[in-house]
């Protein structure tokens, strides 16, 4: 029963934190220079008000304000937003008046999820062995080289790597399509590009985690019992060192919600990143608040999940 209680308590904390996050976001937008809240300006941006007199514009502004619920004081806007947000109703965004935001999210979410899961799997499959090798061959050239390559992959902006990959594999070798998101072939390049970052993080974390474990007394104990390197490393060191990896995969997954925006644009992957990051620079404020809401929520849920899994994997931990 401890688990249910624990989860409920954490969910309550998440609920309160989300309210705080939303209020902070609103306040920040409020104090930001420029007219974050003036719909007319948005209207004008696309509209190049050329043929419209300011008086006619007023009619449009009023309509806009009503459609987006801006005709009430700020505190009420926040309240209204929160009321709807927790029922996952976000209304339309400036950049897409056709559809409510939740519909846009629902459509893009599976894509982002697929991309995230595929690349995270790749990152884990490659990153963990790299980290293990590096740790076992610590301070040798094998260590340096494997760490170098995993890191260089995450440090050169993924967008740059993506462009170079397109030029090599699509234009010159013609083995992979440049973009799209239907066939497995189309997924190869975006998945690799997205995986590079987490892969490096995982490899490095794995390396240090394993090194840490290898220095533990119980490893010496295992050797003293006559374990082979193989048995000791696999049965004792790896299992122990893999547990903390869970704690970094969670945040990395949450990061993939926005961190993939450049890759999505480059490879025409219809995911959430495009939606969310563009919101920030376009000042699409309903979408901006909503992306903050969704991202915070997913980070917090991911952390909760990580804690649960962690407790599941590590018998020492009990839900308080």
């Amino acid at each position: 029963m401890g688990l249910v209680k624990y989860i409920l308590r954490r969910l309550f904390t998440i609920f309160v934190s989300l309210i705080a996050v939303i209020i902070i976001t609103y306040i920040l937008m409020w104090i930001a220079p420029g007219e974050f809240f003036n719909i007319a300006q948005f209207q004008a941006s696309a509209g190049k008000v050329a043929t419209l007199t300011p008086e006619q514009l007023q009619v449009l502004i009023k309509g806009f304000e009503e459609k987006y619920g801006l005709n009430v004081p700020l505190w009420k806007q926040i309240l209204n937003y929160l009321k709807d947000a927790f029922r996952f109703k976000f209304g339309p965004s400036f950049s897409n008046p056709n559809e409510p935001i939740e519909v846009q999210i629902a459509r893009r979410f599976p894509v982002t999820l697929t991309l995230a899961i595929l690349s995270m799997t790749l990152a884990v499959i490659v990153g963990i062995p790299l980290g293990i090798i590096a740790a076992l061959k610590r301070n040798t050239w094998i260590d340096y080289i494997s760490m170098f390559f995993s890191m260089i992959g995450s440090i050169i902006p993924a967008y740059t790597i993506g462009v170079i990959m397109v030029i090599i594999f699509s234009v010159y070798l013609r083995v992979l399509p440049t973009s799209g998101w239907e066939t497995p072939k189309q997924m190869i390049m975006p998945v690799i590009c997205v995986a590079l970052g987490p892969m490096a993080v995982i490899a490095r974390f794995m390396r240090s985690s394993l090194l840490d474990v290898l220095n533990q007394d119980y490893i010496r104990t295992a050797y003293s019992k006559g374990g082979t390197d193989r048995a000791v490393i696999i049965r004792h060191a790896l299992r122990n060192s893999l547990i903390p990896i869970v704690t970094i995969i969670g945040p990395q997954l949450a990061f993939l919600f926005t961190g993939t925006v450049w890759i999505e644009n480059l490879f025409r992957v219809p995911g959430l990143g495009q939606l969310f990051v563009n919101a920030a620079s376009m000042r699409d404020y309903p979408l901006l608040v909503t992306s903050t809401f969704i991202l915070s929520l997913s980070v917090m849920l991911m952390n909760l999940l990580v804690d649960i899994i962690y407790a599941f994997l590590d018998p020492r931990i009990k839900y308080e």
Binding site: Q216, D217, Y218, R220, T221, A222, Y223, S224, K225, G226, G227, T228, A231, R235, H236, R239, N240, I243, L313, D314, P315, R316
Partner: protein, 326 residues
């Protein structure tokens, strides 16, 4: 009694950035079947290293530089990695100091006890399981059948040390090395563990190397005692002779710094100063900077380990004719 282990001029050095640490610098001793040998000294005197060296369990930057260790007719120091592994846990097992950290925290203790049996292919999985349960019973774990599946964190410190002992005994080893097995435990538990070890030794007729910094403990528990200081043996004696006549000033210092109810108050005299830096150990007798009897010769010439009487060797210039002539 037949000889089980004979160590000759063992030297183990650690290569640190600051220089070479001569942790064990030429020690020799022997151990008979069924004998309990105590190795006593302050922390850092090389007592743990001297035994871990035998089994190749020295960490990365340490290296056995020389000497020999004939165990059961084989020189442990010349064995291949695999041959040595065959001996570890089967013929020689170790009980480590800290039962809190020496057990794998996420593995059921039963499995951990089974491991040496399986790794040495002594028993099938099922038999190993039965044996492990039996061992738990033997070392006195209550409800041993259900606790077989528990994790280390569910045990108290004393219980964990019992588990460690069970693990060490799993393959009926010829030699058990107990590396300060009671240091991390409460005083009340200490006695229980020592009793248990004693019991096991009687029952299984194995040899024990008992490493401790508690000289009175060693005097109660061992047949023979080695006092180590700064990587060297300063006194090597059968326990009867040692109790009667501890000769080396350091041994005396150790004895004086322990509480003895029989002695009068005010007799607690700690040894002044700190153990020496083993990268540049003091010239002459390594103990001379802390020795209250120090003389010129001590600073110049390193004393040899001389046999004063039978089964009693001391490395001190000032010991003459079975007495410390201060």
């Amino acid at each position: 009694m037949a000889e089980l282990l004979k160590v000759n001029n063992l030297r183990t050095y650690f290569y640190r950035n600051e220089g070479v640490v001569k942790a064990v610098d030429g020690i020799s001793y022997k151990l008979d079947y069924g004998e309990t040998l105590g190795i006593v000294g302050e922390s850092g005197s090389g007592k743990t290293v001297s035994v871990l060296s035998l089994l190749g369990l020295i960490r990365r930057n340490g290296r056995v530089e020389g000497g020999e260790a004939i165990f059961d007719g084989k020189d442990l120091l010349k064995l291949s990695k695999e041959e040595l592994r065959e001996i570890r846990g089967k013929d020689i097992s170790i009980i480590f100091q800290d039962p809190m950290t020496s057990l794998n925290p996420i593995m059921r203790i039963g499995i951990q006890i089974m491991e040496p049996l399986i790794w040495h292919r002594l028993l099938s999985d099922k038999d190993a399981r039965d044996r492990a349960i039996e061992l738990l019973r033997v070392v006195g774990i209550p409800e041993y059948k259900t606790r077989f599946l528990d994790y280390p964190f569910q045990f108290s410190g004393g219980m964990r040390q019992r588990v460690m002992i069970a693990m060490a005994l799993a393959c009926n080893p010829k030699l058990v090395i107990a590396d300060e097995p009671t240091t991390a435990l409460d005083v009340t538990i200490r006695a229980q563990i020592l009793n248990l070890m004693h019991e096991m030794k009687e029952k299984l007729n194995m040899s024990i190397i008992f490493i401790t910094h508690d000289i009175t403990l060693a005097m109660n528990f061992c047949d023979t005692i080695i006092v180590m200081y700064a990587g060297k043996i300063v006194e090597y004696s059968s326990i009867e002779k040692f109790i009667k006549n501890p000769l080396h000033p350091y041994s005396q210092g150790l004895l004086n710094s322990t509480l003895d109810i029989e002695k009068k108050e005010g007799s607690l005299r700690p040894i002044p100063g700190n153990p020496p830096n083993l990268i540049n150990p003091p010239e002459g007798c390594r103990f001379h900077p802390r020795c209250s009897y120090v003389q010129e010769i001590c600073k110049e010439k390193e004393p040899e380990l001389r046999e004063i009487e039978e089964k009693h060797k001391v490395a001190c210039h000032l010991v003459k004719g079975g007495n410390l002539n201060a």
